[in-house]
């Protein structure tokens, strides 16, 4: 028996005891105090149920405000000693009430006591989307139109000439009657999420123009609660006409803690042996490298390192804010060891892409895809045959800010409750507010003293004013004409 169960039993028993005390105590004040205790125990139960906001409201509003009101009225009316005993009008009621209550308990509790268990929560249906980051190298070899360099400072702009493929992705299998098709996804485009029932599926990637498959069908399993991004990346193999890879990126809807944003770093770019790092350049916007014993080390804050080609993305959390980030790759020096093996040592780091004014938001998961894409013709003369235009590389994720996933707020948190209140339940909230207003007015009207007294008081004042005028007139000898206040007809008769 775990500590939680023990706590539950302890506080549950206490709650029941307080409730019984409330019912049985002769003094209304004692009853109220018992009830406060009961409310406190229930608030603890709320805490155990992952509902901290409700718990606090329970303490503050229920145990606090409302019970104060009760106590106040009790003391105001002097009703602490109840008059229960004076009249025994319905002696049969005690028995009937007890019987009914017990039968209610039995009716409700029998299923539970007889071993009935609530079905377990399976999680939501899996959500799937597709990102196209696949490059067609044939276009790099013989560009039909010379690519224009994107000279603008705006790092988020997608280059105008994109050597990408148009992909169509089919997901078939499972319990689907017809395959789910994501049609004609452009390079750099991320589709919306599609909700599928959990199960085993086959993912097929097709070129939109020719309709021929560009990768082998990939069997996948989607489980409940999963949020997945199918990322097509790499180059189209010229010989087999297949894509190099399709990576299934697991996203998470869970909110990162401490107002941090979450970055999902995926490397679809470098050759498999060069791991990349994501570095915060800070204000000086230059890479700060210190070298000790010939091995350079990065001093700037490193968000993630060792991001390897084609592997599952590295998750990095970083406080929300706007930064200048850089993708950095190591430069290796190859040296011969005595044994004749080649040995690679890191001799330097270079920035391969800089992300200016990069904003990290809290409650957001931002997938960053580092993929290959040609932007401008090669300028260096070490052009290799077959790849005439050395590609310049661009982060697809930088372009696709809207593909960031809004994470769910924490269950039961004030933020979560408030968000729902102000979105889905805005109208009911307003109605409840209106109800409170009506209650307010209702209280005033119900407890208002009967009207006669006030009216009488008003009349008294008027009666005084009449002789006063005549007195002034007499004393001053003037003819101060003051309009006589008109009395209601009934008043004149008195």
């Amino acid at each position: 028996m775990s500590i939680e169960v023990l706590l539950f039993i302890a506080f549950g028993g206490l709650a029941i005891a307080f409730a019984v005390g409330m019912i049985l105590s002769k003094n209304a004040v004692h009853s109220a105090l018992f009830l406060i205790g009961n409310f406190g125990c229930v608030a603890f139960m709320f805490l155990m149920l992952n509902a901290p906001f409700i718990s606090m409201v329970q303490i503050a509003v229920y145990a606090g405000a409302i019970m104060v009101l009760f106590l106040f009225v009790i003391m105001l009316l002097g009703a602490e000693k109840t008059t229960d005993t004076t009249s025994q009008r319905f002696p049969w009621l005690t028995g009937v009430a007890t019987f009914l209550t017990i039968s209610l308990l039995i009716a409700l509790g029998l299923p539970l006591l007889s071993g009935f268990t609530l079905p377990a929560y399976q999680g939501a249906d899996p959500l799937v989307r597709v990102t196209n980051a696949a490059v067609d190298p044939t276009l790099l070899i013989s560009p039909e139109t010379p690519p224009t360099a994107d000279t603008s400072e705006d790092a988020e702009a997608l280059p105008e000439i994109v050597y990408g493929l148009h992909l169509t992705v089919q997901i078939s299998g499972g319990t689907l009657a017809a395959p789910v098709v994501f049609d004609d996804i452009l390079f750099g485009e991320t589709t919306d999420f599609a909700s599928l029932p959990a199960g085993d599926y086959t993912v097929t990637l097709l070129r939109t123009d020719t309709g021929s498959p560009v990768a082998r069908p990939l069997p996948v399993t989607f489980a409940n609660g999963q949020v997945l991004t199918l990322t097509a990346f790499g180059e189209l193999d010229l010989n087999t006409s297949t894509l190099v890879d399709l990576e299934i990126v697991q996203n998470s809807l869970e909110a990162p803690q401490n107002a941090e944003g979450r970055l999902l770093l995926f490397n679809g770019y470098t050759d498999p042996f060069v791991p990349l790092s994501l570095v915060d350049l800070g204000g000086n916007r230059a890479l700060d490298i210190r070298t000790t014993d010939g091995t350079p080390a990065i001093i700037d804050p490193v968000l993630a390192e060792d991001i390897r080609y084609g592997e599952a993305p590295i998750v990095a959390t970083y406080p929300k804010g706007t930064y200048t980030l850089a993708i950095v790759q190591p430069i290796f020096t190859i040296s011969q060891t005595e044994s004749g093996d080649q040995r690679r040592t890191i001799s330097d780091y270079e920035i391969i892409h800089e992300l200016n004014n990069f904003t990290i938001n809290a409650d957001e998961e931002l997938p960053l895809l580092l993929v290959k894409n040609g932007l401008q013709p090669v300028t260096d003369d070490t052009a290799q045959p077959g790849l005439q235009a050395a590609p310049i590389f661009e982060f697809q994720s930088v372009v696709l800010r809207d593909s960031a996933i809004q994470t769910n707020p924490t269950f039961g948190s004030p933020g979560g409750v408030g968000l729902i209140l102000f979105t889905t339940y805005l109208l009911p909230v307003n109605l409840v507010g209106l109800l409170l207003l009506v209650a307010l007015i209702g209280v005033i009207i119900v407890t208002r003293p009967f009207g006669e007294k006030q009216q009488r008081r008003g009349n008294i004042r008027r009666k005084v004013s009449r002789p006063l005028v005549s007195v002034i007139n007499q004393q001053t000898g003037s003819d101060v004409v003051v309009e006589q206040p008109k009395l209601p007809a009934g008043e004149e008769q008195k």
Partner: protein, 872 residues
């Protein structure tokens, strides 16, 4: 000067009086007399100025007519697309409209000014001006509309205004007020008879032509004339009208001939067209296209213009196809264009047959019917036999109203309508014959009756009927120019006479009040207390006048001008216009040998003699001799507001006749006006004028007519001169003051018949009114009251209903229905009485029951679950 856009102003001509009327109607009570008067006068004058601009354009454009769309607001007035009915609110600006515009707004403005003086002090002053302005508005709608329906709107509008203004003094109280109100009703009812005719004719026109438009936008009314003035060659079909006329009148030729003729004319037309196009190429530079584009982008005017000032100024030549209407299908033309098309079809052609459901009529017959119905309406509005009887009674209205509506403008609407329909008339000689006879008979009859009248305004009213008869007769003879010419001149001098008589009446009434020395200043409210101080004195009765020439010199002189003009003394306006009608009658009779020419000539000559006679009688009775009453003795000259319009009108009643001087007559070239200026001006609206040589001045007839007039005046002078004007003129009872003709035994019967107005009212009373009243009485008392009410309703229906209701009420309603309802109520009461014990009022019992319910519901809900558990 570019005047092309002037016709676009025509909506303003109507809008301005409408605004004036609006202001005076709704705020008149708060405005002072002067302000509301000025509003009315300003509206009329502005309207006149704009009309003048428009007419100057039309004149400059050689009478080229145009159709003007008003700005947007009225676009598509009545449109029912499913049946192809489309009656737009469009204006027609052409010479006939122009003449009417000038007459209506010109005379109207003067009468507005006159009213400022005449109505001074009237409590309903602003209302009077509102009505006058509204009358102007409707009259202008009448004359400017481009379709029969707009014409009819104006027609009914002026009728309404006539009704309202005749009965303007309905509140006089006593017999006088009743008399005024009855006069208004009489006018209204008599005109309804005429309006039935107009409506029938409009329906027939729509049925026949499928449109009510006079002319389509861009259509040329008179192609031959337009060709001529644009130097596009002569119209080769010259004289075809007379041929067609001849055909209609003569025996119908054999069919073979007709076909041959038709073919012939077609061939001719083709040749002519070919020539025209050549001519266009050769002479194109002389003409110019005048295309006025209105706001809707439609071309409204496409008629040519030539002339000294236009030549060379604009280079664009007039294209032949723009004016020969060849761009239109026959059915797209206005009614007049279509008439020409129909009549040019050979007789017996299937296209000429108009289907009326069960039967078909030839187009010519339909045209005859249209015109006869139209003539019925004209007889109503223009006071012709048999519907003229309302006009003498209409003199109950204030004198400016009589002058404006019942002499100068409204009553001429019928003549205007007939002249507007001149194309119809050209092709319907039988209808014209009827019209000519009606017109000339009316002229003589009314002239004769006028001799025997005592009331100064009644004399003028019959005179108006008589002169309208002249115009209608002229229309019947085909002398449209003469009719319109006489319309214009008559409008001027008859307005002058009426205003003069108003001035006289005003003066006598004043003098009467002054002479009786009422204690207060009766000047301001004499209209008011006329009823209060009503004595037997009638300021309109000529027996109470005499010698006013000395008291009111300006009125006297201007009145003489009007008298001479009306009598047709040489070189006054009436001389020219009346003589032209007579000359036309002469022409039709002696030159063309038509019967109606002789008849009309004879009747009109006699009527002209009557005219001179009764006018001179009136002048003598009113202005000469000794005053025969206090009122006449003390009458003051009228105020400047009234005299100035008189002077202006007197000037024009002398000069206006010179605008249509015949070629060889005296004074031709006077004022620099060309001979037959008026005829040329009208020509583009009246196709039958083209190709006819204008009549020469008929010296014989002119001298004869003038001699006749002088003879009549001389005869009248011998009877009425000075104090001879009345026998027993000192007799205090004016009924004993006798006309010399009556006193003379030889002429007593003649005069009595005239004095009794030839018993028209009595005849109508016996023939129509009394049978009608008896019939109405029968329907009301016997059929409606005794039969329907007393017997049918009270006996049959009521009893039957009571019986049925009794049956339904007792056994059925009370027994079954009430029983059922009460039974249900009793049942509910019974059970609820048993159930009320459950309502203890104690909360705790309710709570227990509630809890019980909760338990039951939960058990029921969980029952499947519990059963499943138990099953395991």
């Amino acid at each position: 000067m570019h005047t092309d856009s002037y016709p676009q102003l025509i909506p303003l001509v109507i809008l301005i009086p409408a605004i004036g009327a609006f202001i005076n109607l709704f705020w008149g009570k708060r405005l002072t007399e002067r302000v509301s008067g000025w509003i009315g006068i300003t509206a009329a004058l502005l309207s006149f100025v704009i009309s003048w601009l428009i007419v100057s354009h039309v004149h400059g454009a050689h009478g080229a007519g145009s159709v003007v769309n008003p700005p947007a607001f009225f676009d598509g007035w009545i449109r029912i697309e499913s049946i192809g009915l489309d009656i737009p609110w469009q204006f027609r600006v052409d010479p006939i409209t122009s003449v009417m515009l000038l007459v209506v707004t010109g005379v109207g403005s003067l009468i507005h000014i006159y009213s400022m003086g005449y109505m001074h002090g009237d409590p309903k002053f602003s209302r009077f001006f509102a009505f006058l302005n509204m009358f102007l508005m409707f009259m202008l709608i009448l004359v400017t509309g481009n379709n029969f329906l707009m014409m009819f709107v104006g027609w009914e509008g002026v009728g309404l205004m006539s009704y309202l203004l005749i009965g303007f003094n309905w509140d006089k109280g006593g017999a006088l007020g009743r008399k005024n109100a009855n006069a208004a009703r009489k006018a209204m009812i008599v005109n309804r008879v005429g309006d039935f005719g107009i409506l029938m004719s409009v329906f027939l026109i729509f049925w026949t032509f499928g449109t009510l438009n006079f002319y389509s936008p861009g259509e040329t009314a008179n192609v031959c004339y337009a060709l001529e003035v644009n130097h596009l060659g002569e119209c080769e079909k010259k004289g075809e009208h007379s041929e067609t006329e001849g055909e209609g009148a003569a025996v119908v030729p054999a069919e073979g001939e007709t076909t041959a003729e038709g073919e012939h004319s077609e061939t001719e037309a083709t040749t002519a067209e070919g020539e025209h196009s050549e001519t266009t190429a050769a002479e194109g530079e002389h003409g110019e296209t005048e295309a006025t584009t209105d706001e809707h982008g439609e071309t409204t005017t496409a008629e040519g213009e030539h002339g000294e000032e236009a030549e060379g100024e604009h280079g664009a030549p007039v294209a032949l196809e723009d004016i020969d209407n060849s761009q239109f299908e026959p059915k797209q033309l206005g009614v007049f264009g279509q008439t020409k098309y129909y009549m040019e079809l050979p007789e017996g052609d299937a296209g000429r047959m108009i289907s009326f459901g069960p039967f078909e009529l030839d187009f010519g017959q339909v045209l005859f019917l249209i015109l006869i119905f139209m003539m019925l309406g004209v007889a109503g509005k223009s006071a012709q036999i048999p519907l003229f009887i309302w006009l003498p009674d209409a003199m109950a209205g204030p004198t400016p109203v009589s002058a404006l509506m019942h002499a100068a403008t409204m009553v001429t609407a019928g003549v205007f309508l007939l002249v507007r329909s001149n194309v119809f008339l050209d092709y319907a000689p039988e209808a014209r014959f009827v019209i000519a006879i009606i017109g000339s008979t009316t002229a003589l009859m009314a002239g004769y009756i006028a001799i025997g009248q005592w009331d100064i305004k009644r004399v003028l009213a019959y005179s108006t009927i008589s002169q309208l008869g002249f115009m209608v007769a002229a229309v019947g003879l085909g002398a449209y120019v003469a009719a319109i010419f006489h319309l214009a001149t008559h409008a001027v001098f008859k307005a002058l006479l009426f205003l003069g008589s108003g001035s006289v009446i005003h003066g006598v009434e004043h003098g009467h009040h002054h002479g009786h020395g009422h204690g207060h200043d009766s000047h301001d409210d004499h209209h008011d207390d006329h009823a209060a101080h009503h004595d037997d004195f009638d300021p309109q009765d000529m027996r109470n006048m005499g010698g006013l020439g000395n008291r009111m010199p300006l009125t006297y002189i201007t009145y003489l001008f009007g008298t001479f003009a009306l009598a047709g003394l040489p070189f006054f306006a009436g001389f020219w216009s009346k003589d032209e009608i007579l000359a036309d009658a002469w022409h039709v009779g002696f030159d063309e040998g038509h019967l109606e020419g002789y008849i009309v000539l004879g009747l009109l000559l006699a009527a002209a003699a009557c005219t001179a006679f009764y006018m001179w009688r009136q002048v003598q009775m009113v202005f000469h001799g000794q005053p025969r009453s206090e009122g006449a003795a003390n009458a003051p000259e009228s105020s400047a507001w009234m005299v100035i319009p008189l002077l202006i009108l007197a000037f024009f009643s002398f000069t206006i006749g010179f605008m249509n001087v015949p070629t060889n007559g005296p004074f031709h070239g006077f004022f620099g006006w060309k001979d037959y200026e008026f005829k040329h001006f009208l020509e583009s609206s009246v196709p039958s004028l083209t190709g006819k040589t204008p009549l020469e001045f008929n010296w014989l007839l002119a001298i004869g007519a003038v001699a006749l007039a002088f003879a009549a005046i001389a005869f009248a002078h011998s009877r009425y001169a000075g104090d001879k004007a009345l026998e027993n003129r000192e007799d205090p009872n004016i009924a004993n003051r006798l006309d010399p003709l009556y006193a003379n035994r030889a002429t007593r019967q003649i005069w009595s018949l005239a004095n009794a107005r030839m018993y028209w009212d009595e005849i109508y009373g016996a023939l129509i009114e009394q049978p009608y009243n008896r019939l109405a009485d029968f329907f009301a008392n016997v059929v409606d009251w005794r039969f329907l009410h007393d017997y049918f309703h009270d006996t049959v229906l009521k009893k039957g209903y009571d019986t049925l209701a009794g049956l339904l009420a007792r056994p059925f309603d009370l027994g079954i229905i009430d029983g059922a309802v009460n039974g249900v109520g009793w049942l509910i009461g019974f059970f609820s009485g048993r159930m009320r014990g459950l309502q203890t009022g104690y909360v705790r019992t309710y709570a227990v029951v509630l809890l019980f319910g909760v338990v039951v519901v939960i058990v029921l809900m969980l029952l499947p679950l519990i059963q499943a558990r138990a099953g395991q």
